[in-house]
Symmetry: C2
Subunit: 396 residues, 2 copies
Amino acid sequence: MENLLSKRIKNVPESFIRRILKVSSQPDVISFAGGLPSADLFPISALEEASYKVLKNNGKQALQYANSEGDSQLRNWIAQRYKDKQGLEISPENILITNGSQQALDLLGKVLLDKGDSIVIENPGYLGAIQAFSLYQPVMQTVAVDNQGMNIAALEHALNTHKPKLVYTVPNFQNPTGISYSQSNREAVANLVSSFDTLLIQDDPYGELRFSGKAKSNFMAFLPEQTILLGSFSKIITPSFRLGWIVAPKWLMKPLVIAKQAADLHTNYFSQRVIVQYLEDNPIDEHVEKIIQFYAKQKQAMVQAIEKYFPKDIDVAESEGGMFIWVTLPKSISSMELFDKAIKKKVAFVPGNPFYVGDEVKQNTLRLSYVTMDEVAIEEGIKCLGGCINDLIKSL
Amino acid sequence: MENLLSKRIKNVPESFIRRILKVSSQPDVISFAGGLPSADLFPISALEEASYKVLKNNGKQALQYANSEGDSQLRNWIAQRYKDKQGLEISPENILITNGSQQALDLLGKVLLDKGDSIVIENPGYLGAIQAFSLYQPVMQTVAVDNQGMNIAALEHALNTHKPKLVYTVPNFQNPTGISYSQSNREAVANLVSSFDTLLIQDDPYGELRFSGKAKSNFMAFLPEQTILLGSFSKIITPSFRLGWIVAPKWLMKPLVIAKQAADLHTNYFSQRVIVQYLEDNPIDEHVEKIIQFYAKQKQAMVQAIEKYFPKDIDVAESEGGMFIWVTLPKSISSMELFDKAIKKKVAFVPGNPFYVGDEVKQNTLRLSYVTMDEVAIEEGIKCLGGCINDLIKSL
């Protein structure tokens, strides 16, 4: 009965990363593949305390159906956070709570994209976004990103030629490359976008995880009417709760709420209340600082191990935070071959290929996550990877 | 910039029920409108205990990203429940955990429906399903339901003429009417569907809440290859957790998992673990029995109050369980007018109109929920409604 399947779902390739993650999740594998936050940093007892209080003090409400927009205290907190951290004036009325920012992508695809509409995506770019949008059958225009940000000429060409409905960006510590758009690149992107009837999505799951350097402007500061912000508690508290949000212009909120209602009525309300309680009782800035210290150390361990064990003629993309390192090997090396070799030795990572859309695939790239494994495993895993790379070079 | 909205979202009317629920949720309103389970029945302390255990014993795993299919113990429990309660052999591999059964509807729409595909829905029918499916722009074929179930001639006509991809049913204690399909009606529906290349969805949120009478066959027993089952913990434990599931044939599971992954990666994993722990530590059958006793009493109070305060020439649809009573007033009475009158006196219900698709709207119908309000409020609210109906009759 497979003939009953929709065309849209037939269009979506099974995620290669998903297959990799299954292999990588074996307990004896040193995995640099997933973007799994370090479980050592989950505030387990504080969340236990918060759960207890929520059920004790207001269990009846916390276990009941709730509204589609999300908990008002949680939306207030998010608005206040934008003000405190980025100086942005955002009304809680313009915030919708979603099941992680992944659902935000699905809802935006749903309310904005008809089959054949153009959208701009980063190349290489975040696979979850590509997958979510592709279910609405758009035509994807790719714009290359490098360590300065988007290629402005390519963006201009895409905007002029294809009139995309949206431009999807991860300007801070991008997935997969870890790079951030420079301040001047942001200005140039915003300047271009402002002349077109298009929306700019700033997906920002890692923005709070800055290890060094100075934060750059949020696109909302340049394009208040055209910017959609996505955020998430997954990387700073827990991913299991699936709590994210969309900040959207007023005209877009009503369609988004209708789509949210049709999608699942509302986000798990108990978890929303637990997070509100947690944020009330615990200094989140201290917790985020702890995560930053922890990840910065692990990143340093990984970079040092790469310098020690990898051949010299490789490139590591500059990154000031987030969860990933992007490595470019010598052109002759295929990271897919490297994967096959490494996984036999119980070390996993994600080859760069699946992050590219279209023809300009760099076969010699790889994404390494430094957040899941501890420093000892990082040294061991990178040493093993270095050995595999050297073996591949010798065998050429 | 509203021109950027997709055609699909422009197609979806704002839910009238949603507007009603907003009005009804004022604290001084006696509301028979929503399908909100009685908060007095939420197992608050047992869920508190379960949350504590989950975080204490395995917090790191419970707070981490998880797989898209859902927790394996939870899927095992659901499969076992089908076996114990309905004698159905279902493999946990064929179960996908969703954010309430509402998300199941969205995922099924996504993987099955292209624009213009036909589907069969009940008339009157569940608005959440109509809303979820309508985002995928199908053509809806309505089949009337009465207290025997689906109109077989109409179903046959729809199947023959429109070759629908799916037939959506709520055969037990249907929303909005509370009716159940008879055994012979189920057999006739299954017999018809078996000759067509179509799927039958049995949405069953209320199936466990049987107050009287004998359970009828699950469609899965007749149509093992063509039936999709939807279930939910919302009505028997808590709706806030948004935990539901799909049982689907093997060929459909992979597309559904891809769609789930694109939609939100996975369902809140902490809540899945809490429910597993709760089910391990608490006798769910006793809890369900408590809900049944409670709701049966409230239903009886409502029926008795209707007999006492409503005019004699009305019809109350026969129902053996669930959450709703369906009332048909004299033809001359508009339930929308009744709503306007009643809400001024702080009593709310849902007029029947929005549950109908197409032209055959019965303007004199209403849905009354007996699960949210206690017996005193039920008597008071029904008395007030009866007064309003009598006023409307006098003013004719």
